[in-house]
Structures are given as structure tokens and as C-alpha cells.
């Protein structure tokens, strides 16, 4: 039983990062039908910006955090203006292709400039070590990451469910033309959505850096596909669903390999795909209510 619980607890760090990424991903997926392959690069670039602020400029941690988040928003908006706005309304496939192009360009730019090696940095002292509760080990890092994520989750769900902005977002996701006739400035709301999504992606990237003590240029590629799967599993455009799915997929993957023989540990990435196909076959609209037609 303890082994089982420990697996779950250990997975909460990565699960939180996936939850944040899935939430941001599903927001832009829902509102303009964008399958955003370049989101992984927003995630990665924010982590790199924070990394540079920390190691090269020796700025304090909270400044590095701010630098990372601002970079995420700037890059996210830049990608939106350059790769998505010009082809808005051209259909999901076109948007996906331009996002793929943006992803390849940005990622390879980073690889060219900084190569694809692991860039490590020291974990801050207050995040080192563990807490022990009965027989269970809680890494301080994981507790911080989990706490931040839960707070952001609560704030996000509140915005989506209880504010004018949330109603505007969900209306536009369903039918943007009718939303416009209600006086909703869809262009402005779409930009705000991208800002929030980029903020979440940037936060996820920085937390990833904290969790693994390192960043690398290819870190976005792996995560973005999992984020896409989590958002479909959760119901497209549903922020709560995406976050729950992120945790389910992370915890599920951890439990999956925990009970497999040692040689089969390489099969871990398979788990999310199995869940993905099961959902597509039995409940293609996702576990929770989707926000699209």
C-alpha cells in the first residue's frame, strides 16, 4: 500500500506540470480550434529565460521566475501574431501546420545557439530535501510545484466559471460569430486567452526546470504531445478537465511502470497513448464537457 501511495505522491510533481500545460493547451484549442504544436516551445523558452537569468545574470530566484513568465507571454503572443492570426479561419489543419512550423523553427534555433545538452543548475537550498510523513517521502520540490499548480487551478476554474471573461471565452469557443453579436470583442478575448495560456506554459516550464534541476532545448517536444492528449481526454476547451486529466495521466503512467518488471520500464510513454485511444473509442468528447460545437 505504501509503495502504491508513494508512486502517486512522486508523480504529483510531473503531474502538476502536465496539468498546467494541458490547461493552457486546451484554452487555445477550444477558443480558435488550434492544435498548438508550438506551445512546447513557449514552455521551453520560458525555462531557458529563467535559466539564463539565474545562471548567467545571477539574478535572484523570484526575478528569474518573472523573467521566465514574461518571456513566455511575449513569445506566445509573437507566435500568435505571426503564425496564427494571419490564417485564422483557414481551418484546424492549416493552424496545426503553422504551429508545427513555428515549433520547428524556434526549437532548432535554440539547438543551434545552445545545443541540445542538459543545462543544469543548483536547486535552491529551501527546496532541497524531503519531509517524512509516516512511511511516505514528500520531496519539498514536489510540494511547492503541487501547491502552486493547485492555486493556479482554483484561480483558473474561478475565472472560467464565474467571470464575464470566462463566459466570453466559452461562448467564443462554441460559436464566435454569435458571440460577436452579443458585443463580445472576440479578437481581444483571443489575445487574453493566449496571454493566460502562455503564462501557464511558462510557469510549467519553470517548474519543470525546478523539478529536474535542468533544462534542454528539446524539453517541449515530449511534453506538448502529452498536453494535447490530456486536453482531448479532458474534453476540448475544458480547463478543469484538462488539469484533472494531466494528473490522471501522470499518476497512471507512474503506477503503470511501478507494477511492471524492470525490463519493461521503457514502455512508460505507452500509457498515455493507451488511455488516449480508450477515450477516443468510448468517450471521444472527453471525460468532461467540451466547449466546442
Amino acid at each position: 500500500m505504501n509503495y502504491f501511495m508513494q508512486q502517486i505522491i512522486n508523480a504529483l510533481g510531473w503531474g502538476s506540470i502536465l496539468a498546467l500545460l494541458a490547461a493552457g493547451y486546451t484554452m487555445t484549442f477550444g477558443i480558435i480550434g488550434l492544435v498548438n504544436f508550438a506551445y512546447g516551445e513557449v514552455f521551453m523558452a520560458a525555462a531557458f529565460a529563467a535559466y539564463f537569468a539565474l545562471t548567467i545574470f545571477n539574478l535572484p530566484y523570484w526575478v528569474a521566475l518573472l523573467v521566465g513568465l514574461i518571456s513566455a507571454i511575449v513569445i506566445g503572443l509573437a507566435i500568435e501574431r505571426i503564425a496564427f492570426k494571419p490564417v485564422r479561419g483557414a481551418g484546424m489543419i492549416t493552424l496545426f501546420i503553422t504551429s508545427l512550423g513555428a515549433s520547428i523553427i524556434i526549437r532548432n534555433l535554440f539547438v543551434m545557439l545552445f545545443d541540445d545538452s542538459l543545462k543544469s543548475f543548483k536547486t535552491p537550498n529551501f527546496l532541497r530535501g524531503v519531509y517524512l510523513l509516516s512511511d511516505l517521502i514528500f520531496f519539498k520540490k514536489n510540494i511547492l510545484i503541487f501547491s502552486i499548480t493547485i492555486i493556479l487551478c482554483i484561480v483558473l476554474v474561478y475565472i472560467v466559471k464565474n467571470t464575464k471573461l470566462g463566459i466570453a471565452m466559452r461562448s467564443i469557443s462554441y460559436d464566435s460569430q454569435i458571440a460577436e453579436t452579443l458585443g463580445i470583442n472576440t479578437e481581444r478575448i483571443i489575445i487574453i486567452t493566449f496571454i493566460i495560456a502562455s503564462f501557464l506554459g511558462g510557469m510549467a516550464g519553470i517548474l519543470w526546470g525546478i523539478l529536474f534541476g535542468s533544462v534542454r532545448a528539446s524539453m517541449g517536444v515530449i511534453m506538448v504531445v502529452d498536453a494535447f492528449i490530456a486536453s482531448v481526454v479532458g474534453g476540448v476547451g475544458n480547463v478543469f478537465g484538462a488539469m484533472v486529466s494531466g494528473y490522471i495521466l501522470a499518476i497512471g503512467s507512474a503506477l503503470f511502470i511501478a507494477y511492471l518488471p524492470q525490463e519493461l520500464i521503457g514502455l512508460k510513454p505507452l500509457f498515455v497513448w493507451v488511455i488516449f485511444f480508450i477515450i477516443l473509442i468510448f468517450k471521444p468528447s472527453g471525460l468532461f464537457r467540451a466547449n466546442i460545437k
Partner: protein, 240 residues
């Protein structure tokens, strides 16, 4: 009351992309009036409404609202001027609850008190919406959804209401109710542009009417004259 018509279309030519749907349409709605656009399926009635809302390609002509040129104004800005739209085929947000749909209609309101007042007013006009306020809009029946869209359009206290086939697919009793409500709203000063295939409802309700065919106006006049008109009787045989 001002003498300027609340809405004026002058020789409007419009369509979607390269396709032209409406040709040289000129319509006038005077303050406090109900005007109807009649015609069978696919003659361009919906296109006229969408053109007013800047959701089509306007080729030529102009659209004026209270004398102001709104020909190329962004849709959300047109809504801000006090024009509400009840789309064809319900047009509810199925992913939102009944109440959330109404709140979406109140998007432009600034004060919470105004929102509360308008919500209560819509609930008193359509009590069933209050009963179903926390249900998802997609679980409402066809008639309830129509009430919801009309209710939603009233939340912003519009000056001009554009309605696209509100009676489509509804039971006669409900059509009667909607007619009554539109009359009441008009008595309070809201101008109405009503697109309808149900000629009986339209001609009973409206003061002035235009008969559309293949994207152009073939007949227009006071509805009391249109009712007697042979051409209309021919087209709508059995309904009048």
C-alpha cells in the same frame, strides 16, 4: 421621437466571398416600427440580417443606424450601439447553462443591478427559463431554446431587434406567445426587423413589409395593404 429612421439600407449588394446573394436592397425602418422581410427559403433574408451585422461581404451600398453609417463597423461595435440579434435555428450556446446564456446576452451591461433587473424581467416573460436556469442549454426543448435566444437578446435592452425566423419549427401556441411578446416589446419602444416565412405571423405583427425573391425586393408596402395583395396570397396560399 426622432425623424431619422432607426435603420436604413440603401442599395445594398452583399454576399459571401465571391458569391453575391442580395442585390440593391433598400430597406427603411422608422422609429418605433416593426418591419418584416418575407419570402421563401434561401432568397437572402438571413443574408440581409447578417449584412447589417457586418458578417458578410458588403459589395456596395450603405447601412445607416440612426443616421450613422455602420456599413463597415465591426460586429461587436454594432451590438454596442443597441442592436440585438436572434439567429435562425436557435443559436444558443449549448455548452453553457440557461442562465449563462442569458448572462452572455448581458455582456455589455456595466452595472450588476441592471443585469439583475433585466434577468428578472426575462424570467417573468419566460418563467420556464428560470425553472431551467441551471440546466445546460442543449437539454432544453426547441421551443425553450427559442425563448432562451429571444430572452438573451433582450438582456442588453436593445433599441433594434433583428429576428431570424423565430417561429420556425414551433408549436402554434408558442408562436402565438412569441408574437404577443414581440408586440409588447415593441410597445415599449424597441424596433423590430422580423424575417419570417410564416406570413400570417409576420403580417399581423408588422407595420411594413418587404417581399424578397432571389435576393431582391419584389414588393413592399404597409402590411394592411400587403395582406390584401394578390401576389402574396398566391405565394402563401393556405397560410392566410
Amino acid at each position: 421621437m426622432s425623424n431619422v429612421p432607426i435603420l436604413e439600407l440603401n442599395n445594398v449588394v452583399a454576399g459571401y466571398g465571391k458569391k453575391e446573394i442580395i442585390n440593391k436592397i433598400s430597406i427603411k425602418i422608422n422609429q418605433g416600427r416593426i418591419v418584416t422581410l418575407l419570402g421563401s427559403n434561401a432568397v437572402g433574408k438571413t443574408t440581409i440580417l447578417k449584412t447589417i451585422l457586418s458578417q458578410t461581404c458588403l459589395r456596395s451600398g450603405e447601412i445607416k443606424y440612426n443616421g450613422i453609417d455602420i456599413s463597415n463597423l465591426a460586429t461587436h461595435k454594432i451590438a454596442r450601439l443597441g442592436i440585438s440579434y436572434v439567429p435562425e435555428g436557435r443559436g444558443i450556446f449549448a455548452n453553457l447553462t440557461t442562465k449563462e446564456n442569458l448572462l452572455a446576452g448581458a455582456y455589455l451591461l456595466k452595472s450588476k443591478q441592471e443585469l439583475e433587473n433585466n434577468l428578472n424581467r426575462v424570467y417573468s416573460i419566460f418563467p420556464i427559463l428560470k425553472e431551467r436556469s441551471n440546466q445546460l442549454a442543449e437539454s432544453l426543448s426547441g421551443g425553450e431554446q427559442e425563448m432562451l435566444v429571444i430572452g438573451r437578446s433582450l438582456m442588453s435592452k436593445p433599441n433594434l431587434l433583428l429576428l431570424d425566423e423565430p417561429s420556425l419549427g414551433l408549436a402554434p401556441k408558442l408562436v402565438e406567445l412569441i408574437g404577443k411578446i414581440l408586440k409588447e416589446i415593441n410597445n415599449e419602444g424597441v424596433c423590430i426587423l422580423l424575417v419570417e416565412q410564416n406570413a400570417k405571423l409576420a403580417l399581423e405583427l408588422a407595420d411594413y413589409g418587404y417581399l424578397i425573391r432571389k435576393g431582391t425586393i419584389v414588393l413592399e408596402g404597409d402590411t394592411k395593404d400587403l395582406i390584401k395583395n394578390k401576389k402574396i396570397k398566391e405565394i402563401y396560399l393556405g397560410i392566410i
